[in-house]
């Protein structure tokens, strides 16, 4: 049994009148990739955003290492739980290296500027972007920007990484670069929560698959269980739809 990194208990979230998450209970295991799939509008992004408190929850509790979210200062929490977005969101006025350095130079007082630069280069190397350290975001392709965004999140040395459809805005021929980077990260033992529509990738890297629909978890289990032998009709219908 691997250790539980995050525990999500009966989480409810609504925007105005509409209830988007309706009692989510699950757990995220350490050093595993948890993949969330489901039709669009089912609440996947909202759940992910609750996991680094970009959204506040109306009911329920989330734990990180047995510590309730409410007991962790919000900025501290976000350095421990990094996030990568569909739309890359690199800071357009900063070079790649400065994108990486901005947050840690403001927040990580334990490291010197030189040490941070060194970490920056090694992470850029890891995502295959070392040569572009001095480039500006708009000079990069979408796939390159997304790999920089991953490196930027890793600069904070997070314990968990959240990925929200990070390949959905990419040209098809760029998708693989980013997926490879994520596979490497999974192999290196990073705890990851991934929302994706790439079913092949989900099956390959996912240690656990969660299928969500209409704000609830319909089914969860190993890739074999969910993809190969789904129990719920809604899961079967969804998979039939996306796999055809």
């Amino acid at each position: 049994m691997t250790k539980t990194k995050m525990k999500i208990e009966n989480v409810h979230k609504s925007f105005d009148q509409s209830s988007v998450l309706r009692g989510i209970t699950t757990s995220i295991s350490e050093k595993e990739a948890t993949v969330i799939i489901g039709p669009s509008g089912s609440g996947k992004s909202t759940l992910l955003r609750c996991l680094n408190r970009l959204e506040s929850i109306n009911e329920g509790t989330i734990y990180l290492d047995d510590q309730s979210f409410m007991d962790i200062p919000i900025q501290k929490l976000r350095t421990r739980v990094g996030m990568v977005f569909q739309s890359f969101n690199l800071f357009p006025h900063l070079s790649v290296m400065k994108n990486l350095l901005l947050a840690p130079t403001k927040l990580q007082t334990s490291k010197s500027k030189d040490e941070l630069m060194e970490l920056g280069y090694s992470l850029l190397d890891k995502v295959g972007m070392k040569e572009k350290a001095e480039s500006y975001p708009e000079e990069l392709s979408g796939g390159q920007q997304q790999r920089v965004a991953i490196a930027r999140a890793l600069m904070m040395e997070p314990e968990v990484m959240l990925f929200d459809e990070v390949t959905s805005a990419l040209d098809p021929e760029r998708v693989n670069d980013v997926l490879e980077t994520m596979k490497d990260l999974a192999k290196s033992g990073m705890t990851m929560v991934i929302v994706t529509h790439e079913m092949g990738f989900a099956r390959e890297v996912g240690d656990k698959i969660i299928f969500m629909d209409q704000g609830v978890i319909v089914e969860e289990g190993t890739p074999e269980e969910v993809f190969g032998n789904s129990k719920e009709d809604r899961t079967k219908a969804f998979l039939r739809n996306v796999l055809k």
Binding site: R78, Q86, P92, H93, A103, K106, L107, E134
Partner: protein
């Protein structure tokens, strides 16, 4: 009637003393307008309690009353509450408050155009609101607002001539002094117009240079000076 060039040349040194004052007033007021504009815009966007409604009222008041009335009010009104300021200081205060009000609207538009996605990227890295404004929203929004702020700045410079109304020895007032004894209106006001035109031209040239420098889209790749790529696109941080 003949156009008396010699008169103008004769009066130039005197006009230059006025010009110096105009430039001083303009420079001080522009710096203050810039600061008021950035601070006011952030307060408005963050909806800071108490301060935000004050800013709204201030901007309304300034934008909906004539600047000359504001100048008179400060110059003749403030002494009644025990605040006696010199014409020059009154002038700087009046122009800064006026320019600041317009600058708040300029910057508010620019800061708001910075995509919410970029703020969230900042917050997701653990940055706080101060960091996000200081390092993300203000630097990006400033570039977006800069063309409209330049227009405000140009108006501040031109409107400094209204300070002649309270006897500040700036360019327009020196011209008035000069015609009061010479009666050479055409020569003087034509020259005055030309001098203002030159100031505004120089200023707009400087602003264009700054705008070019600020454009991060051309910074790294050392594109040619006269390349216009990316000049039109003023919203940043969208996907793709």
């Amino acid at each position: 009637m003949k156009f008396d060039i010699a008169f103008i040349i004769d009066q130039l040194p005197y006009l230059m003393t006025g010009l110096k004052m105009t430039l001083l007033l303009s420079f001080a007021s522009l710096v203050l307008s810039l600061l008021i504009g950035i601070a006011g815009a952030v307060i408005r966007i963050l909806k800071v309690p108490i301060l935000s409604p004050i800013i709204i009222g201030y901007v309304e008041l300034i934008r909906n009353t004539p600047l000359l009335v504001q100048i008179f009010f400060l110059y003749f009104g403030l002494p009644f509450i025990g605040l006696k300021l010199s014409g020059t200081v009154t002038g700087i205060v009046a122009l800064s408050l006026w320019g600041g009000a317009y600058a708040i609207e300029n910057f508010r538009g620019g800061f708001k155009s910075v995509s919410k996605n970029l703020n969230e990227a900042g917050y997701s890295l653990g940055l706080n609101t101060y960091h996000v404004y200081r390092h993300i929203i203000i630097p990006i929004g400033f570039r977006v607002s800069f063309p409209s702020f330049s227009n405000t700045a140009m108006s501040v410079v031109k409107n400094s001539s209204l300070l002649a109304g309270i006897g500040v020895l700036e360019l327009t007032f020196t011209a008035l002094n000069s015609v009061a004894v010479s009666f050479k209106y055409i020569e003087m006001f034509l020259s005055l117009g030309v001098i203002y035109l030159l100031i505004v031209w120089v200023l707009s040239f400087l602003f264009a240079l700054i705008e070019r420098k600020l454009d991060f889209k051309r910074r790294s790749s050392k594109k040619a000076f006269f390349s216009f790529k990316g000049m039109a696109n003023k919203t940043y941080g969208k996907a793709g």
